[in-house]
């Protein structure tokens, strides 16, 4: 495998797939917070307007009303930018959705920091950490358009609260039309022997490209995509770490509490190995092109490859772009 084929944005794929499935799921209703033309939930508004509920610029009520709808037999899919769906409305999610375990799907568009000119307010670097800590919440972070579609199909079969991370920009294809998502299972993207790399979401496409770069330099990466951050496939994680005895995580999210945190929790108790966590280093984002932000914040294939090489050489050194994380002052 070499170059990844260009693909569609996850937001397009997710809502397109849902509109195709909704006729078979008469209880599904889509709830929007005045951002449907950004998130692309407007595909539902255009195609099935009777099951699209506009809730305006009021996220606490949007999530609370979704909980109320769920008690009346509806299966709401709530759409907003991730920053507003999660942190703006967090208490509604905690008290009205997670605690009663209601069947509400929260679809966070525009996750991660690759959001162009939107900048810091719209870049939520904490959504995985927050939602993963919420008891009973399923957290899914698909990697490409096919997995975004498969996420729709998987969630339609799963009752209970779930959070899905979607992204804004078109991103490459890792999978194909036949792909089905098995919630709670990791997906091995490349077999390797030198180091195990765990990634999630669209970051898995960049991790894949990094693995290709490293293969060209003679290093074999065992690359594991983690679409379901919760429930986490602990057995799959341990098994993958055992193959190489060395682990790296990479994610478009803070290095605190996200995928890296989840993997560290499993490995530290079940198979302690050296683990390096790559991602946003406990700071907020800023404006910029996807390419420049990926470079600056340590998400690009080139930066990942460099970091993995340092880990493998057993001598992690601080560099300007990506210093070892979670390990200050040593």
């Amino acid at each position: 495998m070499g170059e990844l084929r260009p693909g569609a944005a996850l937001r397009e794929a997710f809502w397109d797939e849902l509109t195709q499935r909704m006729p078979d799921h008469p209880n599904v209703v889509v709830v929007d917070g005045d951002l449907a033309n950004s998130t692309r939930a407007e595909l539902v508004a255009e195609r099935i307007p009777g099951r699209f509920l506009e809730m305006g610029i009021a996220e606490q009520n949007m999530l609370g009303a979704a909980a109320g709808l769920a008690t009346m037999g509806w299966a709401p899919y709530v759409s907003s930018l991730a920053c507003f769906a999660v942190n703006r409305a967090l208490d509604s999610i905690r008290v009205l959705i997670a605690q009663p375990g209601l069947d509400v799907k929260i679809i966070g568009g525009y996750t991660g920091i690759l959001l162009g000119t939107a900048g810091k307010t719209h870049q939520d670097v904490t959504d995985i950490a927050v939602m993963r800590a919420m008891p009973g919440m399923t957290v899914v972070s698909p990697a490409d358009e096919h997995e975004a579609r498969a996420t729709v199909r998987a969630l339609l079969k799963r009752r209970g609260p779930a959070y899905v991370r979607l992204t804004k920009s078109p991103s490459p294809q890792l999978f194909d039309e036949k792909y089905e998502l098995e919630l709670g299972r990791v997906v091995v993207l490349r077999q390797g022997a030198d180091v195990t790399v765990f990634s999630t979401g669209v970051q898995s496409t960049r991790a894949f490209e990094a693995a290709v770069l490293l293969a060209g330099r003679g290093m074999s990466v065992h690359l594991v995509h983690v679409p379901t951050i919760k429930p986490l496939d602990a057995d799959g994680v341990v098994e993958a770490a055992k193959l190489t005895g060395l682990a790296v995580t990479t994610e478009d999210h803070s290095v605190l509490g996200g995928l890296g945190g989840a993997i560290a929790e499993v490995l530290s108790s079940r198979f302690p190995v050296r683990l390096e966590r790559l991602g946003i280093s406990d700071r907020f984002g800023e404006c910029g092109s996807d390419a420049s932000l990926a470079e600056k914040f340590g998400l690009s294939p080139g930066v990942i490859a460099e970091a993995v090489e340092r880990v493998v050489s057993g001598n992690p050194r601080r560099t300007r772009r990506s210093r070892p994380v979670g390990d200050p002052g040593r």
Partner: protein
């Protein structure tokens, strides 16, 4: 039309509903003293409203608490759970003796209502303002499926300081949710609030401000004495005939109602009565409720 075999018990005499409310008040005070926690002032102000809803207004089946066509009730001011539990038990949802488990580990009677534990609770609440938004969603859900259930939600006047209330109020009006009836337990006090003249506290909202805001949000409003059973019955009937917009019954109440030394004293928001205070409160309440046979 709406079926009403077991559903509405229709306690016809307002005097009887008043006795039920007094009995519930006694259970509130007794349970708070026994458990060493919970809230008192708000439950006492809310008791008559809850008694009217569950014994006269709402279409419910205590023996079948998940009956799909039941009217829903959300206690958005979830800290007044003791009053709701007392009324639910008197209505037959569970044995009144279970009140003694309130707040203990493994109890179905959580400090703030938990729909996953106690059948009859239509929505978990406890974070102010949010139960109201869930009620808006319930009303929208009923409207969208074309069913006739009515959704009742009780808020405190202090609670209406939460912004989520106004997010929900706007959406309820926009979707013309005339199946939604909010009732405000306006007892004029909140947990701490602002100091007023000569040791008193300022009300959560000045003058007619709260009524005015609901009016401005397009709601039908009606102000009633929240301890006058007949007035409450009429207000809920009025709300049911209101079409094309949501209705709010603004019930003027007294915090700590029914126990003279608690009335209007904000410190009784969540104070635990001593043995002496309990005895004094019970003799006052049970005198009026007609002892344990009051219900």
């Amino acid at each position: 039309m709406r079926s009403s075999n077991e559903a509405r018990v229709k306690v016809s005499e307002p005097r009887d509903i008043h006795k039920i409310a007094q009995r519930a008040r006694a259970m509130v005070v007794q349970t708070a003293a026994l458990s060493g926690g919970g809230h008192i002032g708000g439950p006492l102000s809310a008791a008559d409203i809850l008694a009217v809803l569950y014994f006269h207004v709402m279409n419910v089946r205590p023996s079948e608490p998940t009956w799909e066509q039941r009217d829903r009730f959300v206690l958005s001011k979830g800290h007044s759970s003791l009053a709701l539990y007392a009324i639910l038990s008197l209505r037959g949802y569970f044995e009144p003796s279970e009140m003694s488990t309130f707040g203990a580990v493994d109890s179905r009677l959580q400090g703030h209502p938990d729909m996953t534990k106690l059948p009859g609770i239509d929505m978990s609440t406890g974070s102010l303002g949010l139960g109201f938004t869930a009620a808006v969603g319930m009303a929208l859900g009923a409207q969208r499926r074309g069913s006739r259930e009515r959704i009742y939600v009780m808020l405190g006047d202090g609670e209406c300081q939460e912004g989520a209330v106004w997010e929900g109020a706007h959406i309820a009006q926009r979707y013309k949710l005339d199946n939604l009836c909010a009732v405000l337990d306006c007892n004029g006090l909140q947990q701490y609030g602002w100091p007023g003249a000569s040791g008193s506290r300022e009300a959560p909202w000045a003058g007619r401000m709260l009524e005015g805001v609901f009016e401005a949000f397009g709601w039908a409003t009606k102000v009633v004495d929240g301890h006058d059973v007949e007035a409450l019955e009429e207000a809920f009937a009025w709300a049911e005939t209101t079409k094309g917009r949501p209705a709010v019954v603004i019930a003027k109440t007294v915090k700590g109602k029914g126990v003279k030394f608690m009335e209007g004293d904000f410190t009784w928001h969540s104070r635990v009565p001593t043995e002496g205070e309990l005895a004094a409160a019970l003799s006052e309440l049970e005198g009026e409720a007609g002892g344990s046979e009051g219900a």
